[in-house]
């Protein structure tokens, strides 16, 4: 609760989103935000930053890192650095889109199930628990492999559809605890409608939970995309880091000593994950004052 309080106060003081102010105050989180901003910039400015088109295969294949190609070329003669830069886009887009989508699903399911209770809750909870125990990766693989359409949005959909349950469960629990708060009862006695109670009384007290859930979902989504792409089930038309690793692995990067092709996507991925994890430190502190103190 303290988080919402502080957030509300911070918002009033600076007119910035309150949680952002709190995040910025945390040192680890600040580093993470800066790193994240870096990745976002690289993604946005990819066409300007990348020396070549990511799919331009007009170079010699399997070149070692050197002046012309800082990270060398792929077996097919594409510039590794350019692919790496464009790959940031995919990871970020998938992370944000799938993170947002699964957060929305989780929020809708959690809110409905938690606030309405009764049969609706029973049914939705069943599906939530079902989604929690169904083995995610095999399901993801099956869905991704057997979808008649391929593409980035399929990956986003697959990740969201398989990844919302945990968030929904947490949000449901939070709603259940919030909906019996005295101030919610008071709002009922003040004649407020259910929708208004949810939006005005309950939601503002869930921001940090939603932000935490969103961050977690983003991390999961980025990892999920990379995993699927690595297994060769990603979007064949886009150059993501996972797909680069897949091609490096299948394209004999180990064999031809093209270490940069193999190492760079992994490090880039780790960098993005570190950025998000650092941001998450702040987000965790936001939602859990216990962690903020030590």
């Amino acid at each position: 609760m303290t988080a919402e309080l502080a957030a509300t106060e911070a918002r009033r003081a600076t007119r910035l989103p309150g949680w952002l102010v709190i995040l910025w105050r945390n040192r680890k989180c600040r580093i993470g935000l800066v790193m994240l901003a870096g990745f976002v910039l690289v993604g946005l400015l990819a066409p300007g930053l990348a020396p070549y088109e990511p799919r331009d295969d007009s170079f010699d294949g399997s070149l070692p890192p050197g002046a012309g190609h800082w990270l060398g070329t792929t077996a097919r003669g594409e510039d590794v650095l350019s692919q790496l830069i464009y790959g940031a886009r995919i990871s970020l887009v998938v992370g944000l889109a799938a993170g947002a989508l699964s957060t929305v699903i989780a929020l809708v399911v959690g809110l409905t199930s938690g606030y309405l209770g009764g049969l609706v809750d029973e049914i939705l909870s069943f599906f939530t628990n079902l989604a929690l125990v169904v083995p995610v990766l095999p399901l993801m693989i099956t869905l991704a492999a057997y979808s008649p359409v391929k593409g980035l949005w399929l990956i986003v959909a697959v990740i969201s559809v398989t990844g919302w349950a945990y968030g929904a469960r947490i949000k449901r629990a939070q709603i259940i605890s919030l909906r019996t708060r005295d101030y919610v009862t008071a709002a009922k006695f003040a004649g407020d409608s259910t929708a208004r109670i949810i939006m005005k009384e309950i939601m503002p007290n869930m921001t940090s939970l939603v932000v935490v859930g969103f961050m977690g979902a983003c991390l999961g989504a980025i990892g999920g995309e990379a995993g699927l792409a690595f297994l060769g089930l990603g979007d064949p038309a886009s150059v993501s880091w996972g797909a680069m690793l897949n091609q490096a692995n299948n394209g004999g990067a180990m064999l031809t000593g093209q270490w940069a092709w193999l190492v760079a996507p992994g490090l880039a991925f780790a960098g993005l994950m570190i950025a998000l994890t650092l941001v998450n430190f702040g987000v965790d502190a936001l939602s859990n004052p216990h962690l903020r103190e030590d």
Binding site: M1, E4, L5, A7, T8, E9, R12, R25, R181, D182, Y183, T185, A186, A187, K188, F189, A190, G191, D192, K200, E201, P204, N205, R292, E293, D294
Partner: protein, 598 residues
């Protein structure tokens, strides 16, 4: 040399992203062998922090920032944890406030005794200890969650005495327990002390218990000890205006005339630098010097006081008092009831496997609420009083019987009609911290019922909200409209909650323990406000409480509940002064009485 010597002890909270708080500020006192010392103070005064500092159990971000604690010749503040170990429990033990969490939930009670014995290579008879606190030795084989609150607290007490320590620190040991349970524990404690002769530092906010139990009482305010003298002397002649205010807030509900005092205002913010007397802003007898002089704890009378006046309090300038001024009511008052509760039964079904057990929370209860009159529902936790409140407000439906609001059957209301009914029936909640949304301003909270129920426009709602704030004594109102709940004190919050309940101009107000979460010194103030509002506005009030004193002060009529049944009801004066039912008498007898120590 005293058993416990505390000198210039300071404790500071240093949270990472908030201001530092000097929770305990240069406190010094002694406790002699076998002495029973009370430490009295309201929430946030630093008494529990002081207790933890004495035990050296402070956790980050709190830390001792100065001074020393010497126990039995050992400097507790500077000893290493290893050096402290032989001292702990063998000579100095403790009972924490909430024993729900004080006992390890995953091992049996017995194992927690064995723990203590083994750590100190001691032989002990846990069973005998259990018998000492009137518990079946069988309890040793059980887990904490299988025990009731009272049993747990007794077990904790037995555990504290396991190694026959010289000194036991009791930190609010009976808070949260029912009066009757509290009574048995306190009686037991007194007997044990007489038998074993250990010294006690008894920390509590409850004046009654402290005064009843302690030989000597220290009063703490804003991180400092403001008064220290024998309990009996304090009772007859308090040295500090704050003590006098606290003592005034207490009265015997059975007395012919009952009047309680209150001390308006709130303690200072300890994260700021303090100058002058810390109590001066609330002090009814403050003089000019209070603003500049920070008085030391100086000897006065049989003890010591921290006051510019040095213990000589003028008679004039008493704290403000609330004494209900009502004609004696001996019969049920006339007037058409607004709400009639008739033969109401409420069952809760609990499914366990194939079996469904039915718990009867309310059993054939009838009463009326009349305009301008206050009806008190008195009972311990689990007596069904809150369920009755939920039935009256339409949150729950009765299993049988009726709740009628005029011609309206409240039990049958749903949806929009229920919302319309609630315009007439409003609630004042127990916990002012939970009753206001932390993210919404006072103005918003007040505007909602005005706009929904009275159909006011935005501007009209603001004006009306300001009016309401003035009516509950928050003025200037403009200053409060934009405030968030956490910027207000508990009392101020409860006033906002009351204002919100008044907003739709209800005819019935259900007040569910509205003062139990507030500090003693301001309770009477809220009671007075409720009293005035009910009578001036002709509101029928259902006042729910476990506290007979407040019922005596506020109610016209009292209904005593036990296990969902009415055991006694009638005009307040009759029921409290001349109780007929044994249970009512038991409740009354369990209240700590200041006179007992005299």
């Amino acid at each position: 040399m005293a058993l416990l010597e505390v000198r210039e002890l300071s404790v500071t909270y240093r949270p990472r992203d908030a201001a530092h708080v000097h929770a305990v500020d240069r406190v010094g006192f002694d406790v002699d062998e076998g002495e029973f010392v009370g430490l009295l103070g309201e929430s946030g005064c630093g008494k529990s922090t002081l207790g933890n500092a004495v035990l050296r159990l402070l956790d980050k971000p709190a830390a001792i920032s100065g001074g020393s604690v010497v126990f039995d010749g050992v400097d507790v503040t500077h000893a290493s944890e290893e050096d402290l170990r032989p001292l702990r429990w063998a000579r100095i033990s403790t009972v924490f406030q909430s024993s729900m969490n004080a006992l390890n939930p995953v091992i049996t009670v017995g194992a927690q005794f064995d723990d203590a014995f083994r750590a100190h290579d001691a032989q002990g008879d846990a069973a005998a200890l259990m018998e000492m606190v009137a518990l079946d030795p069988d309890v040793l084989r059980r887990y904490p969650h299988e025990l009731s609150g009272g049993m747990r607290q007794r077990a904790a007490l037995a555990l504290a005495l396991a190694l026959r320590p010289k000194f036991v620190l009791l930190d609010e040991p009976t808070t949260g327990l029912d009066v009757v349970v509290q009574r048995t524990i306190l009686d037991r404690l007194r007997e044990l002390r007489a038998e074993l002769g250990f010294a006690v530092l008894f920390i509590s906010h409850d004046l009654g218990t402290v005064m009843e139990m302690a030989d000597r009482v220290m009063v703490m305010y804003a991180g400092e000890i403001v008064e220290d003298q024998p309990a009996a002397a304090m009772l007859t002649r308090p040295l500090h205006p704050y003590t006098r205010g606290l003592l005034g807030s207490y009265a015997d509900p059975r007395a012919a005339e009952v009047s309680v005092d209150y001390v308006p205002g709130r303690p200072p913010d300890l994260s700021r630098e303090q100058t002058g007397c810390r109590f001066r802003e609330r002090c009814p007898v403050a003089v000019a010097a209070c603003a500049t002089t920070h008085p030391p704890l100086a000897p006065a009378g049989p003890g010591a006081v921290r006051c510019v006046l040095g213990g000589d309090l003028p008679e004039a300038g008493q704290a403000r008092a609330f004494s209900p001024d009502r004609p004696e009511l001996t019969t049920t008052a006339p007037g058409e009831p607004v709400v009639s509760v008739r033969e109401v039964v409420k069952d809760y079904r609990v499914r366990r496997g194939w079996r469904t057990t039915v718990t009867r929370a309310v059993d054939r209860v009838s009463f009326d609420l009349r305009p301008g009159r206050v009806t008190a529902l008195v009972g311990q936790s689990g007596s069904g009083k809150t369920t009755l409140a939920r039935l009256v407000t339409g949150i729950e439906r009765p299993t049988s019987g009726t709740v009628a609001f005029g011609d309206l059957d409240v039990g049958g209301l749903r949806g929009r009609r229920l919302t319309r009914y609630r315009r007439h029936v409003q609630i004042v909640f127990q916990d002012p911290f939970a009753a206001l949304n932390p993210t919404r301003t006072v103005g918003y909270a007040l505007a909602r019922p005005l706009r929904n129920h009275l159909g006011l426009g935005e501007r009209a709602a603001v004006e009306k909200a300001a009016e309401l704030l003035e009516a509950v004594g928050l003025h200037p109102a403009e200053q409060y409209l934009d405030k968030l709940p956490h910027q207000l004190s508990g009392g101020q919050r409860q006033r906002v909650v009351i204002a919100r309940a008044l907003a739709p101009e209800p005819s019935v107000l259900v007040a569910d323990e509205p003062i139990s979460m507030l500090d003693v010194s301001i309770r009477a103030e809220i009671l007075q406000l409720l009293d005035r509002l009910a009578r001036d506005r002709g509101i029928a009030m259902l006042y729910i409480t476990h506290d007979l004193l407040s019922a005596r002060l506020l109610a016209d009529e009292v209904i005593v509940l036990r296990d969902g049944r009415v055991v006694e009801s009638g005009p307040a004066l009759r029921v409290i002064r001349h109780a007929e039912h044994a249970y009512t008498k038991l409740l009354l007898d369990s209240i700590p009485t200041l006179t007992r120590t005299l």
